[in-house]
């Protein structure tokens, strides 16, 4: 039996649970586990996978709960209208908060959510029409086609169905083009932007999704409890949600349920036992939770689920996901491709580019050109400004002066995403791969701009045709680069040389006309260098232009058509490798001149 089916089978067990002869108290606990797991699932997506932390999810639960409580309890509207209304309120507030914090560095969002959580808690407790700290009561139960859902057992079914639905949507979303973009968010901004991912947009997206799940949980809570008050939506609860996700395994979708179950079970047991041991004065489960979370992060930062999954994997190694289609899927031939420029036509034209950092001129009036089919090496001693030049070309830094044209269009000052769209692919000096994900997934990230399906289609898996085309495209690039046997290996377990080739395959996915390679041979062994040189020659033969920033003289001398030599930010020499090799000024720069 495969692992995925087993996971869903385990999940199905929870639906048998209420039919067993168990005390009703267990059903109550089960209800809470389900409610909390929905919120924790949102946090897994937001924090564990997307790398954004929120302590304020309880406030979104509160928004969902209060919205439906007010609409159905006070205004007498149908409870089923409370759900979309709550989702709307929470989603809009999340979009607002998200849009003011995503541009700031990572720790501002958690701080903002703490403040946000507190301010909403006080607001719930102060507003007259929300019943101040007493809250609202008399919320009608849910009913479906005349079927009364007020009994805890009935609500149990609904809650776990909702949880199952959220799980399915999140798992689908993660296994798609949008999912790859979300996974890339946690690794910083440079890499995903260079792959064409709009990081700000995706960050807001996952923040809103997490808030929507919290709001759903709040709606269920309000109609289960039939009353709401401010306390369960305070900051402490917000922190506990995050703890649940951390305990279960913060990057793990199934860990959300495990974490919610462990924390809810533990809390109810601790509330029974601790007062008997230490007396009633004190909030000891808080101490235990606090100490537990510190110990967990000290010793098992990954949480409980990876530990369980690891034990299971010894019996049954998990099947790779996603799989590349066996043959070209329908419509693959129709995938948009760039028209290839005529060999020898001007591609890249750098005209007096300059970059100043304060008083330091890192790049001083550099001019050079690249034609289709050219392999050009940009070399120079340490600190010559090669990497800065590279960053100007790839859009990581805006130039302070001069002009850079690509296919006749000005690209200086454009962002990395736009430059990538125009047909410039790049690799990184320090390899930027998602170490845990398979080579196929990493490479498919490069095809981000060649797909168009949005997150909603992805969550419903309505984009399977496009997804198959993208995966096939990625698999083709992997084969082109000679890594077919490593297609499903986690990228982090490859040798450094292979990882660099994975980066090139990823860049090839965007169908570039020009490839920028930043020190691709650094740290490689001889055979790895030979394999890399072979790949670059093959790309040249296919008509690609390549610009290499490189230290390794032997590597560039053999491979390139021309060399551009930089020193102190300006061009020292340009020409055929053998000419540059004997240039007196270049020799002086590298070996030290004779005064």
């Amino acid at each position: 039996m495969n692992t995925r089916r087993l996971q869903w089978l385990l999940f199905a067990w929870f639906f048998v649970f209420p039919f067993l002869p168990l005390p009703p108290y267990w059903i109550t606990i089960g209800n809470y586990i389900g409610l909390y797991a929905i919120v924790a699932l949102g946090l897994v997506l937001l924090t564990g996978i997307g790398g954004l932390t929120s302590f304020g999810q309880a406030a979104f639960v509160g928004l969902g709960a209060y919205t439906t409580a007010y609409l159905s309890g006070v205004l007498g509207v149908s409870p089923w209208l409370g759900l979309p209304a709550g989702l709307l309120v929470s989603g809009l507030s999340a979009a607002l908060i998200g849009s003011v914090t995503v541009r700031l560095s990572g720790h501002f969002l958690p701080l903002a959510t703490i403040a946000w959580g507190l301010s909403l808690y006080y607001l719930f407790g102060t507003l007259e029409f929300l019943g101040k700290y007493d809250g609202l009561s008399g919320i009608p139960p849910l009913a479906l086609f005349g079927l009364d859902l007020s009994a805890p057992e009935a609500m149990y079914g609904l809650i776990w169905l909702c949880l199952g639905g959220c799980l399915w949507l999140v798992l689908n979303l993660l296994d798609s083009r949008s999912g790859r973009a979300i996974r890339a968010l946690a690794s910083g901004r440079t890499m995903p932007e260079a792959m064409g991912v709009d990081t700000a947009q995706y960050k807001i997206l996952i923040f809103v999704l997490a808030a929507l799940m919290a709001s759903l949980s709040g709606w269920l809570y309000a109609h289960l409890q039939r009353s709401v008050s401010a306390t369960p939506f305070g900051l402490n609860m917000g922190i506990e949600y995050l703890f649940m996700a951390v305990v279960g395994g913060i990057g793990q979708v199934w860990g959300a349920i495990l974490g919610a179950a462990v924390m809810t079970g533990l809390k109810s047991q601790l509330q029974d036992w601790l007062p008997r041991l230490f007396g009633s004065q004190g909030n000891f489960e808080l101490v235990v939770f606090g100490v537990m979370i510190v110990l967990l992060l000290l010793w098992a930062r990954q949480g409980l689920w990876p530990w369980l999954a690891g034990a299971w994997a010894r019996w049954q190694p998990p099947a790779p996901l996603p799989l590349a289609p066996a043959s070209a899927p329908a419509g693959y031939a129709g995938l948009a491709r760039r028209s290839k420029p005529a060999p020898g036509s001007l591609l890249l034209d750098v005209d007096a580019a300059r970059k100043a950092f304060g008083g330091l001129l890192a790049v001083k009036d550099m001019s050079f050109a690249l034609r289709a089919g050219d392999v050009v090496g940009l070399i120079g001693p340490n600190g010559a400004g090669k990497s800065t030049m590279f960053n100007l070309l790839s859009g990581v830094l805006p130039p302070s002066g001069g002009a850079i044209r690509f296919c006749g269009e000005r690209i200086d000052g454009l962002g990395a995403r736009r430059i990538m769209e125009l047909g410039i692919g790049r690799s990184f000096q320090h390899v930027h791969l998602l170490a845990q994900r398979s080579v196929l997934e990493n490479v498919a990230l490069g095809a981000h701009r060649r797909g168009h399906a949005g997150p909603l289609a992805a969550a419903l898996h309505l984009e399977r045709h496009e997804e198959a085309r993208l995966l096939h495209l990625a698999a083709e690039q992997i084969r082109r680069c000679g890594l077919a046997e490593h297609m499903y290996t986690p990228a982090g377990s490859l040798a450094l040389g292979q990882q660099r080739i994975v980066e090139i395959a990823r860049a090839l996915c965007s169908d570039p006309l020009l490839l920028l390679l930043d020190e691709p041979a650094a740290g490689l062994r001889l055979q790895e260098k030979q394999a890399l040189a072979g790949l670059i020659r093959q790309l040249k033969a296919e008509g690609m232009a390549v610009l290499l920033v490189e230290h390794d003289m032997d590597f560039v001398m053999d491979l390139t058509d021309r060399l551009v030599v930089m020193e102190f930010g300006s061009k020292l020499a340009e020409g055929l490798p053998e000419v540059v090799r004997n240039d007196a000024a270049v020799l002086a720069a590298y070996l030290g001149g004779i005064e």
């Binding site: 607002l96 501002f108 607001l123 992060l297 930062r301």
Partner: protein
């Protein structure tokens, strides 16, 4: 609103702002040196005020039990770390002896001191010093136990640990101090009238002490080698390590300062407010809002933020007292939007 009320509110606002400024400084300091967002700062406010209140009331300062307990834990951590490395190097006897002195004997010494004097008869300055002698080592020990082993972890992991420590301290605080709050004795009963404005000596003391501390911090960071080492660590941890500044040492120092500033903030608000074991958290969070104005990096901007928070809170409590907290904490959203527009984007690789 007439001028009298305006002036009273301003005085209130500035007094509170002085306290927020101290807290904001401590938060900026700890964050820049250790990258820890020090949420447990608030607990030290309660610890400081309640310990001082216990001394003034002639009771045993029960926080000492926590100090003794955490001290034992700290020594155990040091001992275990030493034993684990026994295979590679001999037991660092001197270090262990030093650790036993700091973590086991020092708390016992304080315990003996607490037992052998009638602290309610000692002048207030002595009581305050004794309070600090209890709270400051507690800060250092917390760093040793919870944060030092994770010093290289990401900002977010450290933040979650900080929340864990906050939970543990809040729970223990309730056990140690009970649910009731206390007030401490007034620093002075002097007051003066300037036209419509009644200037309270109490406010003046708070403002003067806070201003003095900020000046002292400035001198510490500008003039002393240790202060400069802390600043160097804040600018570049790796670089500081390479020139021989121990980052663990710097972290301990930052936590000592933060604990001291936190307890002093508690002592300063003690005579004006009833401080309970958990009232510090909200106060410290307002310090956070102030620190965010400076992007958790700039001391002068943090002080300006404190003034903004203090005045806003004071005037909000006049016009819409029920919404005071809502207004102060919602302020963070426009503030962040402003910072978001003002800041040049920096990439946080692997943060």
């Amino acid at each position: 609103m007439d001028f009298g009320i305006f002036a009273v509110l301003a005085q209130d606002g500035v007094t509170n702002a002085a306290v927020y400024a101290l807290l904001a400084m401590a938060l900026v300091l700890v964050f820049s040196v250790t990258r820890i967002i020090f949420l447990p700062q608030g607990e030290f406010i309660g610890f400081g005020a309640l310990t001082l209140a216990a001394l003034q009331g002639g009771q045993f300062p029960r926080l000492l039990w926590l100090l003794i307990g955490v001290g034992v834990l700290c020594f155990a951590v040091d001992l275990l770390a030493a034993l684990r490395q026994r295979r590679y190097k001999p037991l660092p006897r001197r270090q262990l002896l030093w650790s036993a002195g700091e973590n086991l004997f020092y708390p016992l010494l304080l315990w003996a001191l607490a037992q052998s004097f009638d602290w309610s008869a000692v002048p207030m300055l002595g009581q305050i010093l004794f309070t600090l002698a209890v709270t400051v080592p507690l800060g250092v020990m917390l760093y040793r136990v919870a944060f030092q082993p994770l010093a290289e972890a990401s900002v977010l992991v450290l933040l979650i640990v900080a929340v864990g420590v906050h939970f543990a301290l809040i729970g223990l605080g309730l056990f140690i101090f009970g649910p009731e709050g206390s007030t401490t004795q007034a620093f002075t009963d002097w007051s003066a009238e300037f036209g419509a404005l009644l200037m309270s000596g109490q406010s003046l003391v708070v403002i003067a002490v806070a201003a003095g501390l900020i000046a002292a911090l400035y001198l510490f960071f500008e003039r002393t080698l240790f202060g400069k080492a802390l600043r160097a660590t804040a600018v570049n941890r790796r670089g500081a390590q390479l020139v021989g500044i121990g980052t663990a040492q710097a972290g301990r120092m930052a936590f000592a300062l933060a604990a001291a500033l936190g307890s002093l903030a508690g002592i300063l608000i003690g005579p004006l407010n009833t401080v309970g074991y958990d009232s510090g958290f909200i106060v410290a969070l307002k310090g956070f809002v102030a620190a965010i104005v400076g992007g958790l990096a700039s001391y002068p901007l943090a002080a300006a933020g404190a003034l903004l928070v203090g005045l806003l809170e004071s005037y909000a409590s006049f016009w819409a007292s029920a919404y005071k907290e809502v207004i102060v904490f919602t302020l963070i959203i426009p503030l962040l939007a402003w910072r978001s527009l003002a800041s040049v984007h920096t990439d946080e690789e692997g943060a």
